[in-house]
């Protein structure tokens, strides 16, 4: 690409995303999480630790707020008028929402975080210089910074645990920002296999670690462009669309049967994770 071809193809460099003149094709990875099924067991979080070589910072680090849980289970209490307040406990698995218009991407001074053509917000650890602007600008606060050099810290990975590390994921050194990648190493493998076989990825070819570990199948992951995929069907059923910043169901008067919502849609990052509201009432 040179200046000349830049001028020639100028209009192609002026596309916005995810505006529909350049649709995702053939992949757009998305997720939907059924909060009704979520039991808050933290299996997803543990699976994520194992899959993505996350350092376990220990009690003290955790108390300092330096934990590295890409996938965290948040707890909220709905206490009003309950005999036993704990009955109102609700869980929300929270990880990087892989926004289409991610606030973190524009602000990184070195371009270490980018949007891939298949809709994942990629994080290139080796490029990161640690300005932490992405985390400052992330509305969900799902980016985690390596405050210490965890790989060389004894209590994080005891020597015998080195064999357990996933070779497909970099072990991050100090001063690097990291976050959920939708298990991009698995996606890449599935994509290569599909390409070798001259086909597209089928639904179910690729599973994220959290999805795989979830005992209640609350998490589904798949290709939002593929009408056969479960995620597509769920999004369709809930009438949630990727490039909308408000839900149809919120406009309906007197509530709605629809349960799907995305967090902070009104900030217009166009997140790729849809949550399904909880309907189960534990006290009943």
């Amino acid at each position: 690409m040179s200046v000349t071809s830049l001028l020639e193809n100028y209009s192609e460099f002026r596309h916005f995303h995810p505006v529909d003149d350049v649709p995702h094709n053939p992949y757009k990875w998305a997720m939907s999480i059924d909060l009704d099924a979520c039991s808050g067991c933290n299996a997803c979080s543990v699976a994520c630790y194992a899959e993505n070589n996350l350092p376990v910072v220990g009690r003290e680090g955790f108390a300092h707020g330096q934990a590295m849980h890409w996938m965290r289970i948040e707890r909220y209490w709905d206490e009003d008028g309950r005999e036993f307040p704990d009955q109102g406990a609700q869980f929300l698995p929270m990880m990087c929402q892989q926004c289409e218009a991610a606030p973190c991407e524009t602000v990184c001074p070195v371009g270490a975080t980018n949007h891939t053509p298949d809709g994942i917000n990629s994080q290139i650890y080796n490029r990161c210089i640690g300005s932490r602007y992405c985390s400052a600008n992330c509305p969900y606060k799902v980016r985690y910074f390596n405050w210490y050099d965890y790989p060389t810290t004894d209590n994080v990975w005891p020597a015998e645990m080195n064999q357990q590390l996933n070779p497909d994921v970099t072990v991050r050194g100090k001063g690097v920002m990291e976050k959920c990648t939708f298990c991009i190493q698995r996606v890449t493998v599935a994509k290569n296999n599909a390409k070798n076989e001259g086909r597209l990825i089928h639904d179910g070819d690729v599973q994220t670690a959290c999805q795989q570990a979830c005992p209640t199948s609350a998490i589904s992951f798949g290709n939002l462009v593929d009408p056969e995929s479960k995620v597509y069907k769920q999004w369709k059923a809930q009438q949630v669309e990727l490039d909308k910043d408000a839900q149809i169901k919120d406009k309906e008067e007197g509530g709605s049967e629809l349960r799907g919502y995305r967090i902070f849609e009104e900030l217009r990052p166009y997140p790729s994770v849809m949550y399904l509201e909880r309907v189960r009432e534990s006290a009943v």
């Binding site: 690409m1 040179s2 200046v3 830049l6 193809n9 100028y10 460099f13 002026r14 596309h15 916005f16 995303h17 995810p18 289409e100 218009a101 991610a102 606030p103 973190c104 991407e105 524009t106 990184c108 371009g111 980018n114 949007h115 053509p117 166009y270």
Partner: protein
Amino acid sequence: MSKRHLLALFSNFDEAEAVVQELRAVNLKGFDADKDMIVKSPIEHPEVEEFVGDKPVYVQWFTLVGALTGGLLAFTLISASQGNFFAQLKGGKPIVPFPPNFVLTYEMFILGGVYISVLGFLICAGLPARRSPLYSAKVSEDQIGILVQADESASSSLKSIFTKHQALEIQEEAGK
């Protein structure tokens, strides 16, 4: 024809002005007031410019060229590299977004302007340079110096002009 330098020091601008006027008027062989006379002063002084005469200053052209070059360089470099470097999407923005490019263009416009202005200043003012053969530290203190360059034949009449206007000191280049 060998030329010799003469330096006269004066204590105030009125005297210096009178000397300059007279040097202009006087018609001496081997002495041209426009070329051979340099007025040195300890401060930047509009009056000196008035009586020495209006001479053009070209620094602003350097500024213009520098600023435009800087701005242009920035804009092409940034836009081209955005399209050039593996076109990567960021935050749903276009690959070549204008507002940030304009910010950087603006900064480079100023950077180029300032750098080339200083360069232009050095070129126009002939700096860095060796000091002229007759130099008095008094000039940087409080006195006005008039440095002339003339044929040996003219030096005596020049000297008399200087003394007439109460030159504090007259230095003369050693003869050949």
